[in-house]
Symmetry: C2
Subunit: 237 residues, 2 copies
């Protein structure tokens, strides 16, 4: 077993911060599950506090081991001022469909989500910053980094990258059919799942694209109809 | 002009809390835009603070005028304890696709998001609670409430509904092609959009569904291939 898979087979510690209280059976603390849910997403919701007021900012994110990275957000001014770092909760959610029960009470949705807790810090070191940005582009379209014009010094300076070590995390997952009360099974109501997924549409070339530039091989994963989760995920079960 | 459309034509006040600082052109404060982004979504990310620690919980939500409602979350214990209500930031994000530029720096995503600020309160009054739950089901599948078994007193008690008046809100939207530096247009790199949308898959009947129960008319919007935004939205441009 590789070092990485050994780490993935361990679990995050559970504390009052990440322990699932409501419907605890839906909680998963093992790194493999948490990482997979994270790796299937592109947009996270970052929660942070300024003067007691909560803010939730959506932003692109990516993971390298136990590090999560994202682009600068409204928290950045706060981060500059706060040398010790800013406590954040980074949440990722995949909506997998409607769960239609026979009773109003048992209606639900299927989903996979992760809440990850840590302390955000600005990634200022140019090499780590450039490596993080490259990892982000390569994650979305492996091979694209070499094809595009890389950031110059000025652009690198204008790009805010924020990093966070995952201190605690939990995945919360609901899958499967509705669970109705036994007595309700006799009702004359359609029950079941309506699955949903983020799917790719037909590409739209930039109106300013020079003639003769073909769709590149590094975007082949992003075929019309593909499920974005499947394109993004790195690990297989 | 109806009273409702008069209200929708007004804007939320801008304060330091909701004013967009980074890329201010992407910010929209008019109620029509904010409401439309909200009405196209099903899952919100709710940010709140407990003992200085931010939490972001994903949950289903719905809107009635300037009221936002959602199901009970981890904040509920906190809410019970805190009579005055809990400050929250409710954020909704739609991921509309990759924006692939010729330079790393101008890579982006297209999205529509809303941040709404307010004070969460528990909806305890049984009539408001039942009405809110009915509005939620009817929003997803108009006509389904009458078909299913409604909540009994015990179920209604076990369901936590949280409400919030929108005090301030802002929509942040990026659409359209990549915007590259003029000099980069000559590069031999494919640039353009890869659109994405949440699409409906083929329904999966409950394995316990009684034979002879047909797909109901009230779910006809949820046809395989449909865009969930289009199913959910109430208002047209």
């Amino acid at each position: 077993m590789s070092r990485e898979s050994e780490i993935r087979n361990t679990a995050y510690r559970t504390t009052p911060r990440n322990r699932v209280r409501r419907l605890p059976k839906r909680g998963h603390y093992d790194r493999e599950t948490v990482h997979r849910v994270l790796d299937q997403g592109l947009i996270a919701h970052i929660g942070y506090v300024i003067d007691g007021q909560p803010y939730v900012t959506p932003t692109c994110y990516w993971r390298e081991g136990e590090q999560l990275y994202w682009h600068g957000s409204s928290a950045s001014r706060m981060l500059r001022a706060q040398k010790g770092g800013l406590p954040v909760c980074l949440t990722v959610t995949h909506f997998d469909g409607l769960v239609l029960a026979r009773s109003a009470f048992h209606h639900s949705i299927n989903y996979r989500s992760v809440m990850a807790f840590g302390t955000a810090r600005i990634v200022d070191e140019p090499a780590e910053k450039a490596a993080a940005l490259e990892a982000f582009v390569e994650r979305v379209a492996p091979g694209r980094w070499a094809a595009i014009r890389g950031p110059n010094r000025q652009e690198l300076k204008a790009t805010m990258v924020i990093g966070m070590t995952i201190e605690e995390a939990v995945a919360k997952i609901r899958q499967g059919p509705p669970v109705d009360d036994e007595a309700d099974h006799a009702l004359d109501v359609w029950a079941g799942l309506v699955p949903t997924a983020i799917r790719v549409g037909a590409p739209v070339p930039d109106p300013l694209l020079r003639p003769g530039i073909a769709w590149p091989e590094h975007l082949n994963g992003w075929t019309a109809g593909a499920n974005v989760d499947d394109i993004l995920v790195k690990y297989e079960k």
